[in-house]
């Protein structure tokens, strides 16, 4: 899904609300109803899917930060998790 990367929850819900509003106010033509319902279904799927699936891209990004931090050679507590004080 190409829009998965770009589409945010905010955008998705905004678009979804707009479509449903259009349908509810019946400002929509029956001819394009199918198309709109399809899009809405896609958005719902996107939102629900994103909530519950592990995004590999995010994981990758987070691990990259890890690597960078290691390269930067952190000082203090970062390098020595063993020494961290137990709360």
């Amino acid at each position: 899904m190409s829009d998965k990367k770009k589409l945010t929850y905010s955008q998705a819900i905004e678009e979804l609300e707009q479509i449903i509003n259009e349908i509810e106010t019946e400002s929509i033509d029956v001819d394009v109803l199918t198309e709109k319902v399809k899009r809405a279904t896609h958005l719902i799927k996107f939102c629900k899917g994103s909530l519950k699936t592990t995004e590999e891209e995010v994981k990758k990004a987070l691990s990259e930060i890890e690597e960078k931090s290691a390269e930067e050679g952190l000082e203090g507590p970062f390098c020595h998790p063993g020494k961290t004080i137990e709360n």
Partner: protein, 460 residues
């Protein structure tokens, strides 16, 4: 030369102190170091007075085990905190001197209200400063995304609070996925403030990967809030482009960090719960929209169907009605036609009868008429038969004379002749040509001759 042994001098000091500083004094000092001896139950402190980083005075102090448990409990109950480094305390102390251990303060009582006041004052000052700078609500004004899924965690690896946070997020009942990354920091002690600031700096540096920062810490036996009442940390939180949530395990007091954070939650579990609830609310709103979509779409389709059905029905009804009306009209037309045809047919039959009558009359008249004429003829015939006969005879005689005069024999008798060519009377010399055989009939007999020459004579 008079001299003291060290012990003699020590004794002198001791007795002097005992005789002149025998009262208990209320003293204000900052804790520079604190240690608790588990075996003895005594608490040893280093007290200082500082003025712009200069140490003005320094003294050791002891809280004996018999009073420590009561002092400590009271202090904790009122301040919500343990005695800790950096804290200013108001204590009732007696100056003691021990020949071996030296000068020390024996702390008999601590008034926690002073410490609270100090803490409050410090917080108030920081908050006022940030307010003056106009950044106090900076983090609160950040708009939160509907789902906070990628989280930068500032905590300590292995800390109970972080464990709670992880397990709550990972085992949420809705199956939501949260992506978090730990940024290690000390959360108490002298290094805490700086290490939290460093961690937050890193989070902000990688802000495109995160929806929010959470600062969490489990509420252990030792509660040190000192590091969260820090101006530099509070300022960094206020200016952070990422929303910051705190869950530093402290219910009663709101630290400056809590105050400037986007949201202050009590425990790490509460932070996790907040994030889960937010996702849940988002999913609920999606479900609600989905529900509305289904309801409305179905309603729309249903109404279209209904419209179609009604249209078809009304088309059928109106067609039926039309056909009915047309049938009636047709029947009427047929009836009218029949009536008219009958009337039309009746009219000529009347005429015919009239004509019949007329014809009958006329023919009767005609017959009568003719009969009369016949009668008349008969009368004429019977009256004039003789006269008629003689008249006819005379006429016949006249005709006989005329005919005799016209007989060609008579003409021939007078010397005329008729010439025939091929059996036909020759009237024009041009009709004959040389060597034609012509027959000339005379009154008596005829001559056959061959044409020698023809001479035409134009006749008008």
């Amino acid at each position: 030369m008079e001299y003291f042994t060290l012990s003699e001098l020590a004794y002198l000091i001791k007795s002097t102190i005992q005789s002149t500083l025998y009262d208990d004094y209320w003293v204000i000092a900052e804790i520079a170091q604190v240690s608790y001896h588990y075996n003895s139950g005594h608490c040893y402190l280093d007290l200082v007075e500082k003025k712009k980083n200069m140490t003005m005075a320094k003294m050791r102090a002891t809280i004996w085990a018999r009073s420590f448990s009561q002092i400590s409990a009271n202090f904790k109950a009122l301040t919500g905190q343990e005695l800790q480094v950096g804290m200013k305390i108001l204590m009732l102390a007696k100056v003691t001197y021990h020949e071996v251990h030296g000068l020390s303060l024996n702390i008999k009582e601590i008034d926690p209200r002073y410490t609270i006041g100090e803490m409050m004052l410090k917080r108030k000052e920081i908050i006022e400063h940030l307010t003056k700078e106009g950044i106090i609500d900076g983090n609160k004004l950040l708009e939160l995304p509907p789902v906070i899924q990628r989280i930068a965690v500032i905590s300590a690896e292995g800390a109970a609070g972080y464990g709670d946070f992880q397990s709550r997020l990972n085992n949420n009942p809705y199956g939501y996925r949260f992506h978090y990354r730990l940024f290690q920091a000390y959360l108490q002690g002298e290094k805490a403030e700086q290490s939290i600031i460093t961690a937050l700096e890193k989070c902000i540096k990688h802000r495109e990967h995160f929806d929010a920062v959470v600062i969490i810490r489990g509420g252990g036996s030792v509660i040190d809030l000192h590091c969260f009442d820090s101006y530099p940390l509070a300022k960094m939180i206020a200016l952070s482009p990422l929303p910051v949530f705190t869950g530093i395990g402290h219910e009663r007091d709101e630290t400056v960090a809590d105050h400037v954070a986007n949201k202050r939650l009590i425990t790490p579990t509460a932070v996790a719960e907040f994030l889960i609830t937010r996702s849940r609310e988002f999913e609920d709103s999606i479900d609600e929209l989905k529900h509305r979509l289904i309801i409305k779409t179905n309603a729309l389709i249903e109404s279209e169907k209904h419209y179609l059905r009604t249209s078809a029905d009304s088309f059928l009804t109106s067609t039926r009605n039309y056909l009915k009306t047309a049938k009636v009209a047709l029947r009427e037309n047929i009836r009218e036609l029949q009536t008219k045809a009958l009337t039309a047919l009746k009219k000529p039959s009347v005429n015919i009868k009239e004509y019949e009558g007329k014809l009958g009359n006329a023919s009767e008249g005609l017959i009568k008429n003719n009969r009369q004429k016949m009668k008349d003829f008969r009368k004429v015939l019977s009256v004039h038969p003789v006269h008629m006969l003689s008249m006819q005879t005379q006429k016949l005689e006249n005709y006989k004379i005329t005919i005799q005069l016209l007989d060609p024999q008579n003409v021939l008798n007078r010397g005329y002749s008729i010439t025939y060519l091929n059996g036909k009377a020759l009237k024009d010399a041009g009709a004959a040509k040389k060597d034609d055989i012509i027959n000339t009939r005379l009154y008596n007999g005829s001559i056959v001759s061959i044409v020698e020459s023809v001479r035409e004579e134009k006749k008008e």
